[in-house]
């Protein structure tokens, strides 16, 4: 049984009397100890996905379809109390601004104690010290206040806090964005080690495909609330089949070839809107045909991984053409 099984997850937000679709039939599964990367830009729904799994959606959001099963527990049929119990013990959450969510007037050890008490454990000191060792922090920082630590150190404290109860699932939403390069590397190495040593399953959400390539064995590319490509990271990055993934790859700098001309995809990523029966990338896609504008492409298995594109059979040809920047320039 997979650690996490998400099927056809669909989430809408209500704004006034309009409802917009943030997630559209998202499905994937995560095994124990596996690291899944979720790649996308603003408005693709990746943060909504994280919150939906953790059942932390805001009041005006609603899961109107689909299911999420964590280690056998059906998350959308669980009551509020069971969800509260599951959070932190079965699934932990680390976000970009988490380092700012530490209580500025409480010592760090106190925050561990408080979290521990909330879940029925009174003495977490030795566990906290062990976790600090794990994340590479000196135990003396336990007695400090958050502002005495740098951003990178605080982020590591957050990760330690998240691992307090050895949750089998860790969801990290842009945990390294905004951190210095060397600190980011440290955090990534840490996550890799944790996965290896504790067997924690990780969902790593980011816009940075380099970071995901370094950490995750499988990846899902999201666009406009849908998963448009999914498979092993090696496969998806080396042989992308969705034009958006091809574009992302070309738009992303690579230190090994620092002078390669980056492309930019004309237009902007769509904001959540009412559901349409069409490919949401068609407006920006250099290869779009009529069918793309009139029918939403289903996610299907082609050549080793899954892709949602009507024209996926011609992926090899598209890949060749995608490398030249001129193809991505569209007349305004």
């Amino acid at each position: 049984m997979s650690l996490l099984d998400v099927r056809d997850l669909t989430v809408i937000y209500r704004a006034g009397n309009k409802s917009v679709q943030a997630l559209n039939r998202v499905s994937f599964s995560l095994e124990r100890g596996e690291a899944l990367g979720v790649v996308g830009e603003s408005g693709c729904g990746k943060s909504t996905l994280a919150k939906a799994i953790l059942a932390l959606l805001p009041r005006n959001a609603q899961v109107i379809n689909g299911s999420a099963v964590l280690d056998g527990a059906k998350l959308y049929e669980a009551g509020a109390e069971e969800l509260r119990r599951l959070r932190w013990t079965a699934m932990a959450y680390v976000t970009q601004s988490a380092m700012d969510s530490l209580n500025p007037v409480a010592r760090i050890l106190d925050q561990f104690t408080q979290t521990g008490r909330a879940h029925g454990h009174n003495d977490v000191r030795s566990r906290a010290e062990a976790l600090f060792r794990d994340v590479g922090l000196d135990a003396r920082w336990l007695r400090s206040y958050p502002h005495e630590l740098s951003g990178g150190m605080r982020q590591r404290v957050i990760i330690a806090l998240a691992l307090l109860f050895e949750p089998p699932l860790l969801i990290a939403d842009e945990p390294t964005t905004g951190l210095d390069v060397i600190v980011q590397r440290q955090v990534l190495d840490l996550l890799r080690r944790i996965r290896a040593e504790h067997g924690t399953g990780v969902i790593f959400i980011s816009h940075d495909i380099a970071v995901i390539a370094q950490l995750c064995s499988s990846v899902a590319v999201m666009y406009g609330g849908r998963i448009v490509e999914k498979g092993s990271t090696i496969d998806v990055l080396e042989r992308p089949q969705h034009p958006y993934t091809m574009g992302l790859k070309q738009a992303f700098p690579d230190m090994r070839d620092a002078r390669r001309e980056l492309i930019h995809i004309a237009g902007t990523p769509p904001t959540p809107d009412e559901p349409v029966d069409a490919c949401l990338f068609a407006a920006r896609c250099p290869f779009a045909q009529d069918v793309c504008r009139t029918q939403a492409p289903p996610l299907r298995q082609i050549a080793g991984h899954q892709v949602a594109c009507h024209l996926a059979e011609r992926a090899a040809d598209f890949r060749r053409r995608a490398v030249s920047p001129s193809i991505w320039v569209r007349p305004e």
């Binding site: 060397i182 380099a210 390539a213």
Partner: protein, 343 residues
Amino acid sequence: MIENGNMPVIEFTKVCKTYRGHRGMGELIPGAKAASEVRALDDISFRLEKGRVLGLVGESGSGKSTLANVLVGLEPPSSGQMLFQGTDLATLRKANKRAFHGQVQMIFQDPYASLNPRFTVRQTVEEPLIIHRYPRQDRTRLVIDALERSELRPASAFIDKYPHEMSGGQRQRVAIARAIVLGPSVLVADEPVSMLDVSVRAGILRLLRSLIDRLGMALIFITHDLSLIGQICDDLMILYRGKVAEFGPAIAILDHPRHPYTQQLMAAVPVPDARSRPAELPARLMNSLAVVDEGPKCSFEPRCIYAVDICRSVVPAARSIDKTEVACHRAQELKKSATSKEI
């Protein structure tokens, strides 16, 4: 001012900026010493020529934001000389503050926060013109011109919009239009694309490059993301704790970084390659000391794997190695022993 193709637009010589910590009530006691002193910028020297892009890379605490502020006149330097087209900046500012402001402009990181949410695009871009008393009939033409140069075409479609009605990329273009409307000689871009979606970043970078080329400006491109340097930068300056670690042509440094800090920075940048596992960074690099003892030594020494005794007792001066200036005692010696694989 005589246009001299080789005269640097900006020349910094040993510029320093020191911040004094709060002294509280001690402020009232004359002669009381500051509780803490931070050398945000220490002996910064460089030159920037017309039509060139200088990349400025540094992590938090490196002083790059301070350097930006000093460059654009938001803060005065504590010491050192800043020449702007041959004239001392301080004198220029005193004499003709407005003219100076018209020559150096800045583009900020957050495209949302850098536009006044209650101003339309027109008001935002027109504001510098109003301040500098351009006549009304010229203003509209200049605003439209600036918007179209920033690839917001047709300008009429954007001119009455509010920031919240536009995407991040569009807002950044408005910010660029505002920055170029006065025809400045120098643009300072502080992380201009780090808050934008990946798929639109290259467009903004290319726009900046083409503006530099077409309008003959100079650009200082500040970032912590090394992987963007190769896109538009001619020269590169690596800052560490307020000092210049390495300075030279961007390609030369990217291909052969000489300063140990630069080497580690580059090694730490993740590459989008799912097959290779990068080598672990050296443990010594992870030494993060809250306070570094000031005093004559190399500030990178506590984290440097090549540190030897001299690094602890003498501040490394910049020395030329090939076309680059490197502030490291052992740079020459390390170069000789470096094989291409080590980097």
